[in-house]
Symmetry: C2
Subunit: 188 residues, 2 copies
């Protein structure tokens, strides 16, 4: 398998998260959104919608760079139907990622669908591919991150537009540049 490092050629990615539970601890879905954003996905459709979580990610975009949004999906089937591209359901029961990756990499647009504990059986039929990132009990956060990593790696830091803050990588401690280039935070 070849790693495709050129993110210019990789598919445009949307994620559809089914089975979110607003009002419960939002960290898991937040991490899913952060991972999708960090690996260059364009948006996450969220079913059921959760305006508080969407605003949290909008805040991340204002601070750390735009290009990723959380969009409400009151009807997840409508999102699948409306998607102009291939639909990939990530499930531990599906075909191995190694087998399907070359086909996925050739698509122009991918919708990655991840469920919670209970996945609607219908999803297995509606997806173009059911793909397993490991045939073991799953983390959907890990599955999305690893699939995107294999499709194109981590987008270069310089491509984040509109960021108020930017990390300067350090062997020790934290260094963050804020508005106007001044340093925020401190080295440790």
């Amino acid at each position: 398998m070849t790693r495709r490092r050129s993110s210019a050629r990789r598919p445009a990615i949307s994620v559809l998260r089914i089975g979110h539970r607003p009002g419960r601890d939002p960290r898991l879905t937040t991490h899913l959104a952060l991972a999708a954003r960090a690996w260059g996905a364009e948006r996450m459709y969220l079913h059921p919608p959760d305006p508080i979580l969407a605003e949290r990610l909008a805040h991340v975009a204002r601070e750390w760079g735009a290009g990723f949004t959380v969009e409400p999906a009151p009807d997840w089937k409508a999102v699948v139907r409306a998607h102009a591209g291939a639909v990939v359901h990530l499930t531990m029961y599906g075909e191995p990622i190694d087998r399907r990756l070359p086909e996925l990499a050739r698509q122009r647009r991918l919708l990655l669908v991840v469920g919670g504990a209970k996945v609607p059986p219908e999803l297995f039929q509606r997806a173009d591919w059911n793909v397993a990132v490991g045939a073991q009990p799953h983390s959907e956060v890990a599955a999305v991150a690893v699939l995107l990593d294999r499709l194109g790696g981590i987008p270069p830091a310089r491509r984040r537009k509109g960021a108020r803050r930017r990390i300067v990588p350090q062997p020790r401690g934290k260094r963050v540049l804020g508005p106007g280039g001044r340093k925020r935070g401190r080295d440790r």
Copy 2:
């Protein structure tokens, strides 16, 4: 960068999770443990300890295969001191993974340390390397999964010993073999 597919040659991996919050929603730490297990880590040290979460993962091991444990870490610094190998702190503020991966891949044993929202500043000093899996707001689940994926990929399914259940990958639906080879679950 070369993908190292031979998991026989990759470092033995332990994960240390700092800042778990027992009693709150355990899903995020559960997903971290599931991801570590699925990508072939040997154990996760958990600070503070959480016997309920450890038992949940022990149940996963009984059903889906052994070789991964959750171990209590009342004193995280003691775990770091006692580790006979390199210590890698995963943080969005660290050096890019692409730069450090070749060195990490040459180690015999790695301890991957991930924090929660607040990381003890001391950790930046105690780690041999502070490594960023993307210099953007992080998911520790994604960071651990992607680092392990790059170090050795997904372990082959046949290597799970002691599993009572095994998934037979399918293009559609679920197929699971249970004790004695009989089918559990059903195709959809």
